[in-house]
Symmetry: C2
Subunit: 310 residues, 2 copies
């Protein structure tokens, strides 16, 4: 919800959302737990609000009921006049926009952390719409420095000029975990990353400054679909040499699919890319076997301390 | 469908079913492929029929539409008068009973192999209702001998006096694989195991005899649910020391759950058990975190050659 690249003051209104996809169990279970035990989300200068973003999908243990809530926070839906037959997630996006927004307004929550899982072998991935938000980039850097033993990556998904379609300031994606399964190891890892996020906000609120640094990140380029028959059925699978290799270099001529008929399909792109969301269960219906990304390095300016609250 | 412990003659009517659970992708994709390329299921003495057991669930990539098809092959459903508001899977069970049965009758298919995936780390698991079927026990033994490098287990699920509720003569369960995801490695493994099953039937049909042996298998004992709140929400996860340890010994005093509040829940049973289906996604709604099993060894008599067809 928050849109200023550098906050003007301390962040007081902070939310942590789970069940934006109802079968991504780390966030669902954490938010359900925090609603019973909210003290874990308290810091001296603020208390984060745990929000069950899509309770119906969580109850049904499905990604969504009618449509993907994580693509529903767009003006078309948020500003349209409500209708009785609106899809559930459109209604829910308006409710969340009331609770946490209005989107991009000065009354909106200062920071929303949205919790996700993927079936892809992506480790810890910090998902931002773009690199412009200096505060978020510093948070990602902080999380990386706090967890030097953990593989973690920053992923930028928004195309230039595209409207942000999600509820969050930052998406925290952990994988691999099957849909509908809660693994204790990922639960603990997500819990730790959320606590560290709140710690970072607390440090910022207290007046800590963070120096400039150079960020490495991955930016989405293209969607690559599975090989399919004319009827749309799968005709091949992600190649064993690509499976589980998220964020690793894929060079022209390397295999990407293994056809059921036996042949390999090779990557024909013009240059090296870095596939992400390889074999994510939820993306089959979107026609995505993986997303190719480019690797970037760019400078992030220092994050100044916030102005004291008036 | 087949019920005689030792077939009287060669097996001619053989089926391979996938999508009994519509989001278990190895079987769904293999059966879809074989319907386009049925020659792979041909052997000199028979051709196996590829059957998409639950086409609507497969199209929706869900386990089932209305209820679990794999629990629907019971007399109550199969013999009741059809009603317009019957659940889809009840109607579909009757259709499959017409195609492959009638269940336990002399017109039924001789052998039905049903293809499954689990999110549990069960490797290759051969699922039989009980140990009485000499032919099936020899098939399991054959598959184990053909794949000495692969961990595989025989699992007996049926309680004494309980009616068999599934369509199959043998269930082939491969894991771990998330629901809705097709992994090339498991696809290839399942394809090989199906080919070897057909090879075994061909050997038997040709007059091969198989000597007596001693079988090791696991038999279901009890269902163990997750720790839950009064509202039914999860209050803990499968313990990291139990997760992924299917078929390994669990002794009294060893941890089985990690509570969100921090404590461990220990196994309090009277003796060693062997957990299976640990953290299977589809079993959350059934109230099953894992199934405890006992390990058995028992003699299996020789399998005589079939009488020549009249």
């Amino acid at each position: 919800m928050y849109s200023r690249p550098v906050p003007r003051g301390p962040l007081r209104r902070v939310a942590v959302t789970g069940s934006t996809h109802g079968n991504e169990m780390s966030g669902v279970s954490l938010v359900q737990h925090w609603r019973r035990a909210p003290e874990e989300l308290q810091r001296p200068s603020f208390s984060a609000l745990p929000v069950l973003a899509n309770p119906r999908a969580a109850a049904a243990c499905r990604r969504y009921v009618d449509l993907d809530l994580n693509r529903a926070f767009i003006s078309t839906f948020l500003t349209a006049r409500p209708q009785p037959d609106d899809p559930y997630e459109v209604t829910r996006a308006r409710e969340l926009n009331q609770l946490l927004g209005p989107k991009a307004s000065s009354q909106a929550f200062d920071f929303v952390l949205d919790l996700h899982n993927t079936t892809a072998n992506m480790g810890a991935c910090f998902i931002c719409n773009n690199a412009d938000n200096v505060f978020t980039m510093h948070l990602c850097r902080y999380l990386q420095l706090q967890n030097p033993e953990t593989l973690s990556h920053v992923y930028l998904y928004q195309k230039p000029e595209e409207e942000s379609y999600s509820v969050d300031s930052l998406g925290l994606e952990l994988g691999p975990q099957p849909q509908g399964v809660l693994r204790a190891d990922l639960f603990t890892q997500m819990r730790t990353l959320v606590a560290q996020t709140l710690d970072f906000i607390e440090l910022f609120n207290k007046g800590t400054t963070f120096p400039a640094f150079e960020m490495e990140a991955y930016r989405a380029l293209d969607h690559v679909d599975f090989p399919r028959t004319e009827a749309g059925e799968l005709a091949g699978a992600v190649h064993p040499r690509l499976q589980d290799r998220d964020f690793e270099a894929l060079r022209p001529g390397e295999p990407i699919f293994q056809m059921f008929s036996g042949e390999d399909v090779l990557y024909r792109g013009p240059g090296t890319v870095y596939p992400v969301f390889i074999n994510e269960a939820a993306y089959y219906e979107k026609g995505i076997a993986f997303i190719s990304a480019e690797k970037l390095r760019f400078p992030v300016p220092a994050l100044p301390a916030p102005a004291p609250a008036p």
